[in-house]
């Protein structure tokens, strides 16, 4: 992930912040000044967001300009194992929180998530079949315990209506 530290990333994020700041500024300028309510113009809702938008745009511009200078040092090679693990984690977490939670009972969604997560991320092709079964069994126990445990904790003890 060291590629994210590069000046190129700074250039891109600098431009993103510049655009975000400008968007906030324009949105604030066009915001309702509530003149029909006869408020003092200095207290219009857009005053502070407008200023902040302008400041962010300025900081973004500075960052982008600064990153135009030639980069120092060598770029580290991309670590694909790391990236693959990251993508798996991100995919599983988003899939669970956006698709499963709310559509399945919470305990079931959590059990599936914990089981799949542990199994996939602990998977090692070098494992013996025996070790693999042990890992699967551990994942199943952990999934059942955490799914049911967290559900009971929140529903029965904290009286939360679960999603």
């Amino acid at each position: 992930m060291s590629s994210l530290n590069s000046t190129r990333a700074d250039l891109v994020t600098g431009v993103v912040f510049l655009c975000l700041g400008l968007a906030a500024f324009i949105g604030s300028v066009r915001m309702d000044r509530l003149s029909e309510r006869g408020i003092d113009p200095w207290t219009a809702p857009g005053v502070v967001p407008g200023l902040l938008g302008a400041v962010l745009a300025l900081l973004g511009l500075t960052l982008a300009l600064r990153s135009l200078k030639p980069a120092e040092g060598e770029k580290a090679p991309t670590d694909w194992t790391k990236l693959r693990r990251l993508a798996t984690t991100l995919g599983l977490c988003l899939g669970y929180a956006l698709l499963l939670v709310g559509n399945l009972p919470f305990w079931l969604a959590s059990m599936i998530f914990v089981f799949v997560f542990t199994t996939l991320l602990e998977h090692d092709p070098a494992d013996t079949p025996r070790r693999r079964y042990r890992k699967l069994a551990m994942a199943a126990i952990l999934a059942a315990a955490s799914g049911i445990g967290i559900h009971l904790l929140f529903q029965e003890l904290f009286l939360v209506r679960m999603p």
């Binding site: 992930m1 915001m31 962010l56 929180a97 998530f113």
Partner: protein, 503 residues
């Protein structure tokens, strides 16, 4: 003065109940475990516990959160010493000397000394909390909108600069981003919906707890799983008991680091991690054994662990008296206080003086529990470090999802958590500090209301911002800090970092 003693006594009596003692012991232990687990930080532990203690009475809930805070900042030292990875960001400086000591088979000695220094550091800070908080509150009673405006600006500038001291620009961007996040939703004066794009969910604003659970929980899950696995330094740790003669030898370092840590803690948004670094750098500068630093110096370890724990009570001082958090964990604590109907701010010494002194005792109780657990449970705590992260992190993520949901019971907060998690992860990978972002979300409302109110009062005249005495001072410091951040002085800050890292 006499009143203070009465409040202090009353606060002690109301807290010294078996229930409270049980809560503080359990919470501190939980905090130590959270801190020791790499990837689980104090901020995240407190944020998750806020959701778990939502139904408790206010005082008990805050007691639990403070126990977790104190425990976690200390617990992270275990991981720093044994695994060479800071359990929480506050223990980064501890790794420099802690890990070499553990590799040399002196892990137990290092852990014992870290426990003693953390305990003493917290006591230095808590003394300052008891003395400074009431004075600061009284002083802040004279603050008007002009002063609050400068306080917000000062907080963002200094937090942005100190938490990212090799690149203040990124710290400021994070801070301004946080301020802008706070602009979403109804404004505090006219209740006009801003940047809501017609969404009723956004009109309620972006709540701090889901944002924090995302930025410190989900983002950490992503970070931890993409990093390499760490190994325990040595299986032999030796005895975990600090010797009094050693502590006496480092009394100056402990005193200095305690004061530095507390002072750094008071500065808005600048917390335990910087407290440890600055203490470490100062100890190194004045030590006769400079060359030992970074190779297993006991003095370096003492400085770092005293400095980070002293910053805890320090960070609570502005949180209680100005409603401006001194660190990221203190920001969550502040949000939790508001959730429980406590109103931190300059009037707290008039409205709820006993609560302030209650907090003093809460920190003291938690510190005692921390010291006892730290010395007695050294070996069981080693087991915690052996939990595979592939099994821990999915459970943590389930808690990250259900925690924010439990407070408001709306799925929107889960989406906020996810968004801040991904955003936090990306920003962190690009070396943006998270503390100014959090501070920005809290200070946004303060800045917004007070700037507009001030302009209304002065009828658009800007001069009171520069002529009122306190405003003038805050403005002066802010401008000074901005100037200091420019290139030449940044180079010397860079030297400070390289000095702390032992080059």
């Amino acid at each position: 003065m006499f009143d203070s003693f009465v409040h202090l006594g009353n606060a002690f009596l109301s807290l010294a109940t078996p229930t409270s003692l049980f809560y503080v012991a359990a919470a501190t232990f939980f905090g130590i475990v959270i801190g020791a687990l790499p990837g689980l930080t104090a901020t995240m532990g407190i944020a998750l516990l806020t959701t778990l203690t939502y139904k408790l009475p206010a005082e008990q809930a805050i007691l639990v959160l403070i126990g977790c805070y104190v425990g976690a900042i200390y617990g992270g030292s275990r991981t720093a010493i044994l695994l060479n990875i800071p359990g929480t960001p506050a223990n980064a400086a501890t790794t420099l000397d802690g890990f070499p000591l553990a590799r040399a088979g002196r892990g137990g000695e290092a852990m014992g000394l870290a426990t003693a220094s953390s305990t003493l550091g917290t006591f230095v800070g808590v003394f300052a909390l008891a003395v400074v908080a009431p004075m600061l509150a009284e002083f802040a009673l004279g603050f008007g909108s002009y002063e609050y405006f400068w306080l917000a600006i000062f907080g963002i500038i200094i937090a942005g600069q100190m938490t990212a001291f090799n690149d203040p620009l990124k710290g400021w961007i994070a801070g301004v981003l946080g301020l802008l996040v706070a602009m979403v939703g109804q404004d505090g004066i006219h209740a006009h919906a801003r940047f809501t794009f017609g969404s009723t969910e956004l009109a309620g604003g972006i709540a701090l707890i889901p944002a924090l659970v995302g930025a410190f929980g989900f983002a950490e899950v992503l970070t931890v799983l993409s990093e390499k696995k760490a190994e325990i330094a040595s299986r032999t740790i030796g005895k975990v008991r600090p010797s009094l003669s050693q502590l006496w030898k480092y009394k100056r370092t402990i005193g200095r680091s305690g004061l530095i840590g507390t002072g750094v803690g008071i500065v808005p948004g600048v917390g335990e991690d910087i407290g440890a670094w600055v203490s470490y750098a100062a100890a190194r500068r004045s030590s006769p054994e400079k060359e030992e630093f970074g190779k297993g110096s006991l003095e370096g370890l003492v400085a770092a662990e005293t400095g980070n724990n002293a910053a805890i009570p320090g960070a609570l001082i502005p949180a209680l008296t100005l409603a401006v958090p001194g660190s990221a964990p203190a920001a969550v604590l502040l949000a939790a206080m508001f959730l429980h109907g406590i109103r931190p701010g300059p009037t707290i010494m008039l409205e709820q003086p006993q609560f302030v002194f209650g907090v003093v005792w809460m920190v003291v109780f938690a510190t005692v529990a921390m010291g006892v657990f730290g010395l007695l449970l050294a070996r069981p705590l080693l087991l915690v470090l052996r939990i595979p992260r592939e099994r821990l992190m999915p459970v943590v993520f389930v808690l990250c999802v259900i925690g924010p949901y439990a407070i408001t019971q709306r799925l929107f907060d889960v989406w906020v958590m996810l968004a801040f998690g991904v955003l936090g992860f990306l920003l962190r990978k690009m070396n943006y500090p998270m503390a100014p972002l959090v501070l920005g979300i809290i200070l946004g409302d303060l800045l917004d209301k007070n700037l507009r109110r001030a302009l209304l009062l002065s009828d658009g005249d800007f001069s009171p911002f520069f002529t009122r005495p306190v405003s003038m001072i805050l403005c002066g410091i802010t401008v000074f800090m901005l100037l200091v951040a420019l290139a030449p002085v940044r180079r010397s800050a860079g030297r400070l970092v390289s000095m702390a890292f032992g080059r």
